[in-house]
Amino acid sequence: MKGLRLVYMGSVLCFLYIPIFILVLFSFNKATFSTDWEGFSLQWYTKLFQNQDLLEVTLNSLWLAISSASLSTVFSAVLAILFFRFRLPAQSFLKGTLYSLLMAPDLVLGISLLILFLAIGLDLGYLSLLIAHITFCIPFCFLTIAARMQSFDPSILEAALDLGASQFQTYTRILFPILKPALLSAWMLAFTLSMDDVIVSFFVSGPSYEVLPLKIYSMVRFGVKPEVNALCSLLLLMTLVLLFLSHRLINSKEVR
């Protein structure tokens, strides 16, 4: 019985990993189009690094991910703290909005923002992308941080206020250090969501600020190209590194 379990789990894992394995393997293949192995080569990786356009787009995506992750983490942290401390006016409406945002298909989000931007006359570019990315990251960050807050005792903040601290100080000196691991998780989550987003970016991006997933999407529609394999492999590597880092950071913080 145990054997069967292992076989089953092993096959599922194989199913999940074999395509990725092949993708990475063939990024090192000398041949362009064929599925036969024709020798090891790093040419596609060197070609990648010579591609100015691709490098620029990657940097665009990185900067967008960093800025939207940071802003969305701050926003969510503030919201989580406020929800945690107080009974807020119109809070059920806000909670409802957050929940719908979490569940809403990216597609609807993308088109609704496109309509909004067009209506208010905002040109599609970095700003439109930033607003969109911050917005779709908020519910995920909020949940991550709110979960951490469950185990926190609000009376500490009251005590600090009684002792003369300002609201701002209680946030920066007491809450922030305690929430650090949750903030980091939320940031990493938002960063990854932003880097990988295709659907929302599809609708709200403009030629002045191109992002990587859309570039890959247009390259990928052609069929299989080793250069794309190389690019994808590097991105996979980056994801792994990030996952590993976040795991270490969170675990090390938990140990007190």
Binding site: F33, Q52, L59, L118, D123, L124, P207, S218, F222, G223
Partner: protein, 339 residues
């Protein structure tokens, strides 16, 4: 971390500070060699975005309110539409001395009589390609696509007007029909064709033929060049009922941020040797009358796909703007995709 960022900044700084030209073009429709030569000669950095269909291009431009791109390359019937809707800016012919090289029959066309808004880029035809190893008898008509022998083996372009055109032509109508009854008839025919269609695509037809995912179908004349390099068994014919001749032109959207660079690029492309290079590389037909006289054009002149005879061209038809009946086409095209 700081060192890394500085390094990246230095790597990109040449691109950050130089002049830019943002081009919106069909996918793989501009050889990278031409871009590099242009960049080297002028120092202007070229950024390329691509689209798969005129409709997608038009919608994107409408969303961007004609801003964001400096140069776009639509087909004739969309140039017509965009001129009518005020989306383009007038070209300064004084900046384009190379106009004199253009083939006379490609200038002064009805949709832009004085070429105030557009300059020809490349022209070609839509032909019927087939795998001569699998199909022994040479086809001569679009009707062959409908044969029940070819279930799931046909490739059709992801292009509303072009695909409707083969149905209209096979019924004996004009590709520019604005009669709802005729369009509906074409739609019914296409519905039947769908049983044979494996794939709707304008971007991947080359791969589909090379990998033998399809046996026959519509292709652009230039696609054959790439296809035949990898799989010489693929051939093409000009169907007897007719086919589309299309012309893609360079236009400058009203809100372009760098029209000067766009003009320079247009003039550059109008040079006979550059025009020829583009045509040869992509497999399409040159718009330049001098190009045909250049030495490198020798092989091209013999190729009926790149240089079709007058006789053949008689059977071809340009696509024009169909005005409001475009909505009829669009509605039926969506229905076709769904049924």
């Amino acid at each position: 971390m700081k060192v890394f960022l500085c390094f990246i900044f230095l790597l990109l700084s040449p691109t950050l500070f130089c002049e830019r030209l943002v081009i919106f073009n069909w996918t793989e429709y501009l050889p990278s060699e031409v871009i590099r030569d242009f960049e080297k000669e002028t120092g202007i950095e070229v950024k390329l975005s691509s689209y798969e269909s005129n409709e997608a291009m038009y919608t994107k431009l409408k969303i961007l309110r004609s801003k964001g791109y400096d140069l776009v390359i639509p087909s004739t019937y969309f140039v017509e539409k965009m001129i009518k809707e005020g989306m383009l800016q007038k070209l300064d012919h004084e900046k384009l001395p190379n106009i004199r090289h253009l083939l006379p029959r490609l200038t002064g066309l009805p949709f832009d009589v004085k070429n105030d808004f557009s300059m020809p880029y490349l022209w070609g035809t839509t032909v019927l390609s087939y795998n001569s190893e699998k199909i022994k008898e040479t086809p001569d008509s679009w009707k062959v696509l409908w044969k029940s022998d070819y279930k799931n083996q046909v490739l059709v372009l992801e292009d509303m007007r072009e695909t409707f055109s083969i149905a209209l032509k096979s019924l004996g109508y004009s590709s520019n029909s604005s009669s709802p009854t005729e369009i509906r008839e074409a739609y019914d025919k296409l519905l039947k064709l769908k049983e044979n269609v494996r794939l709707f695509s304008s971007e991947a037809p080359k791969q589909a033929f090379i990998n033998q995912e399809v046996t026959l179908g519509m292709t652009m004349s230039g696609d054959l060049k790439v296809i035949q390099e990898e799989n010489p068994g693929i051939a093409a014919i000009y169907p007897k009922e007719g086919f589309t001749i299309w012309l893609d032109s360079m236009v400058i959207p009203k809100g372009a941020s760098n029209p000067q660079a766009a003009h320079r690029f247009i003039n550059y492309v109008l040079r006979p040797e550059v025009s020829l290079k583009i045509a040869l590389e992509l497999g399409y037909s040159t718009v330049n009358k001098e190009s045909l006289n250049l030495k490198a054009a020798a092989q091209m002149k013999e190729n009926p796909l790149m240089n079709p005879s007058e006789e053949v061209l008689q059977r071809g038809e340009f696509l024009t703007d169909v005005g409001r009946s475009l909505l009829v086409y669009e509605d039926l095209w969506q229905r076709l995709k769904v049924e």
